[in-house]
C-alpha cells in the first residue's frame, strides 16, 4: 500500500497537522480549515467586516440618524439638543469673547462626537471617511498587487533582458523616497487647471477624483510587491514540475498561467491585506498633508487634519478617525498573518 507523503506532494503541513488530516483536501480547503481554527484571525476578519459595514452605512447614518449633510458647511447652523436650540459653532466666552468653538460630543444621534470647524457632524464624516479610505486602500493595494504580479511573472519567467529592464525600472521607483514620490505625483496632478483634467485613454480624472490618490498610491507600491513574487517565480521556473511541463510541450502561456501562477497566487493573497493596511496608512498620511483625498470629500486622513487645529478644545475630531485607522490596520495585519499561516505555515514572506 502506498504511503501518503505530503512533503513529496508539495503540500506544507502545519505543526499540528498530520498527513491524515489533509488526505483528500485541496490546498485551498486546507488553508480554509487552518484559517477557521485561528480565532485571532477570525476576530480580525470580523472586526474588518464590521468596519467596512459601518462605513458603507454612512449615507443611512447621515440621513436617518445624524440628519445632516456631512459635506455641507454649517457654520451658522443650529441644532436642538434636549429641547434647547444651540449654535453648532459657539461664540467665544470670557471677558473678550474670542474664538469660535464647534459643538462638542453630545452623545446623542446628532453631533454624536461633535462638529468640526465647518459645523459638520464628525461621526457622519468618519463613516464617510471610512468609505474613501477603504476604497483607496483596497483599490490601490489591488492595483499594486495586480501590476506587480503581471510584471513579476513576465520578469521572472522570461528572465534575461526582460527581467533586467523590468527589475531596474522597479529599482528606480524603489529608489525614490516613497512619500516624496507620492507627494510629487499628487502635487502635479492636483494642481492641474480645471479645463485640463488628466486624461488616461478614455478615463478623465478631475483634481478631486478619488482615483488620483488610488492610482498614485497603487503605483508607488508596485515594487514592494514585485520583488518577493519575482523571486518566487525565478525559483519556480527551475522546479521539476515546470521542466516536466516543458518536456510535454507546454508553451509559455500555459507555463505561466497553469504552472507558475497558481503557485504564487497564495503569496499575493497573503500580501493583499497587509498591502491594504499599508496603503490605508499612506492614504491617510497624504490626505493629512492635503494631497490625497480633496475636500469637501472626507477620508480619515483629512478628518485628522481638520481636527488638528481643534486638538485642545475638541480632541474627538482627530481622535475618532485615528481610532478607526488603528483598528482597521490592526485588523488587516492580524488577518494577513492569519492568511499567511493558513496558506503557507512555513512561509517567510513578510511585509517590511
Amino acid at each position: 500500500m502506498a504511503v501518503f507523503e505530503p512533503e513529496a506532494e508539495g503540500i506544507v503541513l502545519d505543526v499540528e497537522e498530520t498527513g491524515g488530516d489533509i488526505v483528500g483536501r485541496s490546498p485551498w480547503a486546507l488553508a480554509g480549515r487552518r484559517f477557521l481554527r485561528n480565532k485571532l484571525a477570525l476576530a480580525a476578519l470580523g472586526l474588518f467586516i464590521l468596519i467596512v459595514a459601518v462605513s458603507l452605512s454612512a449615507p443611512l447614518y447621515a440621513k436617518h440618524v445624524a440628519k445632516t449633510d456631512p459635506f455641507k458647511s454649517n457654520v451658522t447652523g443650529t441644532v436642538t439638543i434636549d429641547g434647547k436650540t444651540i449654535d453648532v459653532i459657539q461664540e467665544g466666552t470670557g471677558k473678550l469673547g474670542l474664538g469660535e468653538t464647534p459643538i462638542g460630543p453630545t452623545w446623542k444621534s446628532q453631533y454624536f462626537i461633535g462638529a468640526d470647524g465647518q459645523g459638520r457632524d464628525v461621526a457622519a464624516r468618519v463613516l464617510y471617511g471610512g468609505r474613501a479610505s477603504l476604497f483607496i486602500g483596497f483599490g490601490s493595494a489591488l492595483l499594486a498587487c495586480l501590476l506587480a504580479l503581471v510584471l513579476a511573472l513576465v520578469a521572472g519567467y522570461f528572465a534575461g533582458a526582460t527581467d533586467l529592464v523590468i527589475s531596474r525600472l522597479m529599482d528606480l521607483i524603489w529608489a525614490f523616497p516613497l512619500y516624496l514620490l507620492a507627494i510629487s505625483l499628487a502635487t502635479v496632478l492636483l494642481a492641474r487647471p480645471t479645463d485640463k483634467p488628466l486624461k488616461i485613454g478614455p478615463v478623465t480624472l478631475t483634481a478631486g477624483s478619488l482615483w488620483i490618490p488610488l492610482v498614485i498610491i497603487g503605483l508607488v507600491y508596485v515594487p514592494y510587491v514585485f520583488r518577493p513574487i519575482r523571486g518566487q517565480v525565478l525559483s519556480l521556473r527551475e522546479k521539476e514540475f515546470v521542466e516536466a511541463a516543458v518536456a510535454q510541450g507546454a508553451g509559455s502561456f500555459r507555463l505561466v498561467f497553469r504552472e507558475i501562477l497558481p503557485n504564487v497566487i497564495s503569496t499575493v493573497v497573503v500580501l493583499l491585506p497587509l498591502m491594504i493596511a499599508t496603503t490605508i496608512l499612506t492614504e491617510s498620511a497624504l490626505s493629512y498633508l492635503s494631497i490625497g483625498v480633496q475636500a469637501p470629500k472626507a477620508s480619515w486622513g483629512t478628518i485628522i487634519e481638520d481636527g488638528q487645529g481643534l486638538l485642545y478644545t475638541r480632541p474627538w475630531v482627530a481622535i475618532a478617525p485615528g481610532i478607526m485607522i488603528v483598528l482597521t490596520v490592526l485588523a488587516l495585519n492580524v488577518l494577513g498573518d492569519g492568511l499567511r499561516d493558513a496558506l503557507d505555515p512555513r512561509s517567510k514572506v513578510r511585509m517590511k
Binding site: 474670542l98 474664538g99 469637501p296 485642545y312 478644545t313
Partner: protein
Amino acid sequence: MRPRSLFQSLALFGAAALVLTACGGSNKKSSSPSSGNAGGTLVTVAKAAPSGSPDPQIDYTLQEWQLLILTHDGLVGFKRAAGTEGTKIVADLATTVPKPTDGGKTYTFTLRKGIKFSNGKTLKASDVKYTFERLFKIGQSPNAGTWYNVIVGGDACVKTPKSCNLDQGVIVDDASGKVTFHLTKSDPEFLDQLSVPFAFILPTGTPNTEVKIPPPGTGPYKWVEYNPNKELKLVRNPNFKEWSKDAQPAGNPDVIVQKFGLSAEAQVTQVENGQADWMFDPPPADRLNEMSTKYADQVHVNPLTAIYYYAFGVNTPPFNNLKARQAVNFAVDRNALVKIYGGPNLAVPTCQILPPNFPGYKPYCPYTKNPGSGKWTAPDLAKAKQLVAASGTKGAAVKVNTDTTDVNKATGLYFVDLLNSIGYKAQLQALAPDIQYPYCQNSKNKIQFCYSSWYQDYPAASDFLDILLGCNSIHPNSDSSPNIAQFCSKPIQAKMDQAAVQAVTDPTTSNETWASVDKAVTDQAPWVAMYNPKLIDFLSKRVKGYTFSPQWYFLLGQASVK
C-alpha cells in the same frame, strides 16, 4: 507690496502717509530710557526666524521690521504712538519733515547734529547717499525698482546695480548736513517710502553684499546675535541719546530676545507660564477661548488696516461676467466667514476694498440685503440666484483656490458649498501657502476664484487700489503680479492716476477721488471682500506699557518688564 497671512507671519508693510504732516522733532536730549521702567530682558517667541535675509535693505517681514525700528532710523519716520497719531510722519534723523519743492520733485533734509551709529561713527550726510546706493547695489532689495527708482539715477541703478551712482539724485554736504533728493517725477508717497527699513540709514562702509546680521544703526538698541535656528538678541546702543521721543524714543528693556522654534501652541503656554513675555505668531484658534477666559487682562485686540478677500479671475469664465461676480458677492454670508476667522471680535465684515480708518475710506456695501447703510447686514441669496440665471453661467465649473492653513482652507470649503448652492459646480484646490500665492498671481494658471489677503505698506489708498487692482499691476505670466484678478478698467485707472496727482498738493481732494475709485471698483466686483481682521497680542503678566502703533503694531521698546 505683497499680501501675507497672519498665520504665516510674513507681514510686509511699511510706512506712511498721504497725510504729510510736516512737524519738527523735539530736541530733547537724553541718554536715559523713556521712563522709570527701564531694565530687564523682554523675552519674545516665534515659530521661526524672519523669512529671507536679515539685511535691513532686503528683509520684508513685520517680524524683523518690528525690531529694525528699534535699531535703525530713517530721515523721517512714523510717530511711535498709538491711534491715528501713529500714522503721522515725523522728523527722525532730519531736523524737520520737508515740504517738496520743484513741483514735488525735490526734497531737502538737514541732518541733526551729534547722532552716532552704534559702532561709534558719527552720522554724516554722505552716509545717506551711501545707503541709497547700497540699496540698489545689493541687487535684491524688493522695492528698489518700484519705489526708489524715482530718484534721479535710480532707473540706471536698477539696470546696472553694481555701478550704481546717485550723484545726480542724492546731493549731500557733510559740512552742513544737507541732503537733497531729486526725483524724476513727483511722488506723493516718497516720504512714506523713506520711513520704512529699506531706507534706514547705514554707515558708510557697510558691505554692499547681503549681511548676516543687521549692521550698526542709530537707534536705542543694536543687534548682537542673529541665529535663525535659535534666537536673535538686541542690547542697548551705548551711543544712543534720545533726540525725538516721537520718532525714536529710548527703549525700556535692557535686552530684547526673540527665541525661535516654538509652535504657536507652545508659545501660548510659555506666555501663560511667564516663560516668555510676548508671542509673535497669532495664537491658535482653539486657545482663544482659554485666553479670553483666564488671561483676558494679558490679551490686546487691535484692528488692522488689512483685508482678506477672494479674487475672481475676471478674464476667465465664468467670472468674466459681471453678473456672475455680483451674484457671488450677494450670496456670501460674511458673518459665516467672520465666524470661521474667529468671530466678530476678531474680524469685521466688509464689501469694499479699502479698510476702515484708512485714507479714502467711505463705508460702501451694495452686496447686502437692504443696502444703503454702507454696512453688510445679510446675504441676498434670491438676488444671487437671479443674477446667476441672468448671467447664463449656471452649471459652470469653478475651482476655488486657497491655501492649506486652517482658516483659509475653511473659507475655501465654505465657498465651494456656496457656489454649488447657487448653481455652479465648484471644487476646492488647496495649495501650500508658499505655492498658492505665486500660483494665483500667474496668469498662465487662469485662476477663477482665488484667496488672498493684503496688509498696508503705508496708509495710502493707492497701496490697496492701485497696487491690487490697477492696470499697471498686471504682469502676464509672472509669479509677481499682485493684481490677481487681472482687473483693468481704463476709466477707473484714469481716476486713480488723477488721485495720485492730486495727492501731491491736495491730499483731501485726493482722498475724495480715491473714495470714488473704491466705490467704482467695488461695483465691478473683481473680488469678494470678506473681512478686515484684528490682531491679538498676548503678553505675560509682567509686561506693562503696551502700545499699539497702527504702523508697527506692538512697540516692543516701549514695553516694560522691570
